[in-house]
Symmetry: C2
Subunit: 219 residues, 2 copies
DNA sequence: TTTCTTATGTTAACATTGTTCACTTTAAAC
DNA sequence: GTTTAAAGTGAACAATGTTAACATAAGAAA
């Protein structure tokens, strides 16, 4: 007679941890209930005592994922000790680096497959707390300071996001072999973006080397 | 005794057609062998007489998909009757519109899930024929004409692609409700991109209204 | 302490998935 | 006309998510 460990303790949290660790290494598609039951030493149906179904676990993963994403990226935007363009530069870099370091999680958060779950989560969350809201607010600050062109802030924010999302996706989905030239690529991308967004006649201050060079007055 | 239609005729091509039609409406993930067998009135294993496995069918779909994509987008880049910036503007627009009209196919072509199949296909195809090569060449033309900044053409091409891929992905993956303001959004995006890429001192000609306005000399 | 209830686990079973295998039928080559 | 290979069939497999009936353990109630 095999002795079973009933009442594992904190099995629910353990499922979540294992799932997140798994996604850190492999694609969400490969995360099966068997993976979870094997890792916890439970049966394949044990999870249903803690989650309604697999999607409910995924939902939790997405929530945690967005928390992690927010913690690693948005604080920069709100750090007013930094020059405005530097905030954009650094936050953008952190964005791309998050995607590079957590490709499977990034795809889970920003891909199509679980869009229905994401939308449910984001509709509940306070919209003003989202990263995009912080981005848009920073764009508005930039316009007030005369650094950015006067334009609908929503549209400018989308342009910035699309740029960062684009380069991140190309990298993690296998279209670029940029392990080495990644920083160089990012600088070119950001220079182009910032140049396109900037207003003309204002002196802009930055402490980021590549931006200093870009922003120094020409002829 | 049921009479079976042995030797269907062109079942292989029919599988491909049905699969492409399916993807035009629903996500690749929902394309099962049962869908194909039901639609053709065959058994679920019939497909194995024409394709090694499901992935082999997907491979064919991806090949056809890239053909379709190339036909609908790249010819513009090679049309030298158009002004250079207009080529970029129009091709970019066609790119985003392709994604909007064929979201499931776009995701299949440019997503991660079947990246291994895509890479196999693209490694066989003549690289110089790819859309990216055409883009890079146009970038080089732009530099020669003094329209674009002198910069590594590869990097500039990546910047353009990332921008278009980013906005396309955001739209089709459910982050923007731009059914109405889509053209407006694209114009803003393109203006920003072009402004960032342009060289300074050259008069640039365009017949696209929004670009005319952008390019007319200021101050 | 004993009993009851509920949370939390188990096993067995199901439909659906892609896939393989032995078999059957048809078309065409000889 | 016979043979052969191409192109279909159905049964079976393992893996998937899921459900249902059952088992156990922990803690509240007696």
């Amino acid at each position: 007679m095999i002795k079973h460990d009933y009442h594992h303790g904190n099995l629910k949290e353990e499922f979540i941890t294992i799932a997140m660790d798994f996604i850190a290494k492999e694609d969400v598609e490969k995360l099966t209930l068997k993976v979870l039951s094997d890792a916890t030493g439970t049966s394949r149906s044990a999870i249903y005592k803690h989650f309604k179904n697999k999607d409910a676990l995924i939902e939790t993963i997405i929530e945690r994922g967005f928390d992690k994403f927010d913690v690693e990226t948005t604080p920069n935007l709100k750090d007013n000790s930094k020059a405005l363009v530097d905030k954009f530069y650094l936050t953008g870099k952190l964005y791309v680096e998050f995607a590079r370091k957590n490709p499977n999680l990034y795809r889970l958060l920003f891909g199509k497959k679980y869009a229905h779950i994401r939308e449910e989560i984001l509709s509940i969350k306070d919209e003003d707390c989202s990263g995009f809201a912080a981005l848009q607010k920073t764009v508005e600050d930039g316009q007030k300071q005369g650094v950015l062109k006067k334009e609908e802030s929503y549209k400018q924010a989308i342009v910035i996001w699309a740029t960062m999302h684009g380069i991140s996706s190309l990298i993690i989905d296998g279209f670029m072999d940029v392990e080495n030239v990644y920083e160089d690529m990012y600088d070119t991308l950001f220079e182009t973006l910032l140049t396109g967004l900037m207003a003309n006649k204002v002196k802009i201050i930055s402490t980021v080397p590549v931006l200093k060079k870009l922003l120094q007055p020409k002829n």
